[in-house]
Amino acid sequence: EDKVVQSPLSLVVHEGDTVTLNCSYEVTNFRSLLWYKQEKKAPTFLFMLTSSGIEKKSGRLSSILDKKELFSILNITATQTGDSAIYLCAVEGSQGNLIFGKGTKLSVKP
């Protein structure tokens, strides 16, 4: 059975801290791994990763994929209160469907 596991499930940090969120997966016919940020209802797209070892970066956020070890990490540096959200990892299978992890709830305190 395909599955995506995220850790930790929740995390509380202070502004300025750096955080690393983890995502491991077991998916048949892996096509890509995506990270989303969910603040209210709609997940907003952050990154899509398809190749191992290539870092995707956007401002203070970065992500990398290891297809051999079947995991990805999402790093956020110099966290701000606006980074508080649930971060979802999803893996695309061969049918184009996404299998989501349970998410990591990040709380950034001032």
Binding site: R31, S32, L34, Y36, K40, K41, A42, P43, T44, F45, M48, L88, A90, E92, Q95, G96, N97, L98, F100, G101, K102, G103
Partner: protein, 112 residues
Amino acid sequence: SAVISQKPSRDICQRGTSLTIQCQVDSQVTMMFWYRQQPGQSLTLIATANQGSEATYESGFVIDKFPISRPNLTFSTLTVSNMSPEDSSIYLCSVADKNIQYFGAGTRLSVL
């Protein structure tokens, strides 16, 4: 990226009634997806809707409970039928654009 409009944004419904959720996209897309997110849980795919064919449902979801229409390449509806409190969730539609799925704003449904 595609712009997705979903409505209603929220609703409170009585047990036994049905609610239809609409999803409109600003461009033509082949596949549209419907997800459910129960309180405190992650997203679970309900079905994939292709224009001109019946929707493909995931295990645990059936057409009688969640009928889907896909009349054209820019629009789809999901109906939650004969609702019970267990159907209280966020329902989200999404579309794939260049292999990335983008989501509508979601519908927060509460069933009393």
